[in-house]
């Protein structure tokens, strides 16, 4: 594996997203949404402005769970199939590049673009929180930002897998949207239905561990179970065993959600 090849591919991919203003647009979307939610999130309770760190993060978590997977999937779904349709995939593979280098280069370039826009987008609220709550507040918020980046990288990895599996761009985009529906909208409902349907007859912990099969839920647990207030706010404490409420463990699961789809993509990437 040659690092220069990976970096050359990554740099091109990253520059592409800077140049077509993708990074700027996504950063702006995140900035506007995070400011609005942080400031007006408490309006229903008759309050304006930043209330508490916990409340701000809890509000942002629900936004991020919808938005970041969608953006990451849209960013990555045509990474390989797009080159295939343009006819440039054969050209790239005729160069001294392995398929693994091509995948990693593409992934890293897109990941850098996504990471930059996420950090820039949520950075403004970080500054506001720091002004109001100083370091302790910022510490938790930084955890939220890092986990948001990881969530994006996990879905980007899934998107790249779709772009390898699908033979046409339109099919890849369909698969990507289907993944979003499944993980963001359907998965928790199914799990809940299973829990209610079995009347809790089968060990409650098993259902909790099934949350690990969804990166969006891993992200939720990462953010919710580090904060006492939010834990009660969500009522998730009742089903998630304390064993899962460890940031390093959830962080590792998230890393697995980044690595495994990429490894599968390499395995499926034959020609």
């Amino acid at each position: 594996m040659e690092l220069t090849q990976i970096l050359t591919l990554a740099a091109k991919e990253f520059r592409d997203r800077i140049r077509n203003r993708w990074v700027l647009a996504v950063a702006l979307v995140f900035t506007v949404f995070s400011l609005v939610i942080a400031y007006f999130g408490g309006a229903q309770q008759g309050q304006l402005g930043l209330r508490s760190i916990e409340f701000t993060i809890a509000s942002l978590v629900s936004l991020v769970i919808y938005l970041i997977p969608l953006i990451a999937l849209l960013l990555g779904f045509d990474a390989v199939v797009g080159e295939r349709e343009r006819g440039s995939l054969d050209l790239l593979l005729s160069l001294p590049i392995t398929r693994l280098e091509l995948l990693l280069g593409k992934y890293l370039g897109l990941a850098a673009a996504l990471t930059l826009s996420t950090l820039a987008g949520f950075g403004l609220v970080a500054i506001l929180l720091f002004q109001q709550f100083s370091w302790p507040g910022l510490y938790h918020y930084l955890g939220f930002m890092i986990s948001s980046v990881l969530l994006g990288l996990a879905f980007l990895s899934l998107a790249v897998l779709m772009s390898v599996i699908a033979r046409e761009r339109t099919r890849a985009s369909g698969l990507a949207i289907a993944l979003w529906f499944f993980f963001v909208l359907v998965f928790d409902l199914l799990l809940l239905a299973g829990l209610v349907g079995t009347g809790g007859a089968y060990g409650g912990d098993a259902f909790a561990y099934m949350l690990l099969l969804n990166p969006a839920d891993v992200f939720r647990i990462l953010n919710v179970f580090t904060l006492e207030d939010v834990r009660t706010l969500y009522g998730l404490a009742s089903i998630v065993p304390p064993a899962l409420a460890k940031p390093w463990l959830m962080g590792s699961v998230m890393l697995a959600w980044i690595v495994v789809p990429l490894a599968l993509a390499r395995w499926r990437f034959k020609s």
């Binding site: 091109k12 343009r86 006819g87 440039s88 050209l91 005729s94 160069l95």
Partner: protein
């Protein structure tokens, strides 16, 4: 670093540039390529023609190591495409895929630098190579402003990076105007004189006919015929065609002069007579036509075109 790679994997300059032995690719019951043996010598311009689905692009992709053959072996510059050292050999291979679309947001020069880096070629080559294909004026413009012909020339330019020893060009003259096609083939001849081996496909057979040293005709996954244009014509025993210009009243007289010759046929045409005869009967036919004297207003001898050869083989 490039030098080290070169030193450890020197191109095998003694042997042929491309060797394919018993190469096959099966997709289930479909035999896309079915037992191809082919040797292309160093410094040869070699044409590969065939209808769509004849197997030529599958063969191309196997030679580039993009898809794995079901059977057989391919050596490029002495390196097996399935071998570990083929990665180093790729630095000396140029490839222009058919109908490739490059990156709209990059300029011509940036595109060249991107491919030069991946190929391990010095970036100092980029601007001169762009100039060589006539794109110096557009080097800094983004590709979205390029015409189809300019994109094709850029595709050709990237294939030339890294001083390739073998060039694979798939339908390279697509979108080029006649002048650009002439320039393109002049460049190819220059490269050949420097010892570069060039493998080229084209649907425009008349264009290849004048410009390749040898060619192979593929059909149903097999090479049906192989040789120079002249050799293929001879193999086919294609008749010559003579077009005579005559006044209508003299057509019958001309036909009567030919009746004693065997294997010669003639049909009246708009401005005279068309005669079809075996190559070896040419002088006998001309001798017989002397009898027409001044009635023969004009005469043209037409060699069978590659199209005729092509359709003769692949039908």
């Amino acid at each position: 670093m490039t030098n080290i790679t070169l030193a450890s994997n020197p191109p095998d300059l003694g042997g042929p540039a491309i060797q394919a032995r018993g190469v096959a690719k099966y997709y289930g019951a479909l035999h896309a390529v079915d037992g191809v043996d082919l040797t292309v010598q160093r410094g040869e311009i070699f044409g590969l023609i065939g209808h769509n689905g004849a197997g030529k692009s599958t063969l191309f992709k196997m030679m580039l190591g993009l898809i794995e053959p079901s059977a057989g072996e391919i050596l490029i510059d002495g390196a097996s495409v399935r071998g570990r050292d083929f990665r180093a050999a790729r630095r000396h291979i140029g490839y222009l895929p058919e109908n490739v679309v490059l990156y709209d947001n990059l300029s011509g020069l940036e595109t060249m630098r991107f491919f030069a880096k991946l190929k391990g070629a010095p970036s100092a080559q980029c601007a001169p190579t762009l100039a060589r294909v006539g794109l110096a004026h557009a080097a800094t413009r983004p590709l979205r402003e390029y015409s189809k012909g300019m994109r094709q020339r850029l595709g050709f330019a990237q294939a030339l990076l890294g001083k390739p020893s073998v060039l694979f060009l798939d339908e390279p003259s697509n979108g080029l105007d006649p002048q650009a096609i002439r320039d393109f083939y002049a460049t190819l001849r220059g490269l050949r004189d420097d010892g570069v081996t060039i493998l080229i496909t084209s649907h425009i057979l008349a264009e290849l006919q004048e410009r390749v040293d040898r060619l192979a005709i593929m059909s149903a996954g097999k090479i049906q015929a192989l040789g120079s244009v002249q050799e293929l014509r001879n193999q086919m025993h294609l008749p010559l065609c003579l077009a005579l210009r005559l006044a209508p009243v003299d057509v019958l007289a001309a036909q009567q002069l030919l009746t004693h010759l065997s294997a010669v046929s003639s049909t009246p045409s708009a401005d005279g007579l068309r005669i079809s005869c075996p190559r070896e009967a040419k002088m006998a036919v001309l001798g017989a036509l002397m009898g027409l004297g001044a009635k023969l207003l004009d005469l043209k001898i037409q060699e069978p075109s590659l199209e005729d050869v092509f359709f003769g083989f692949s039908d």
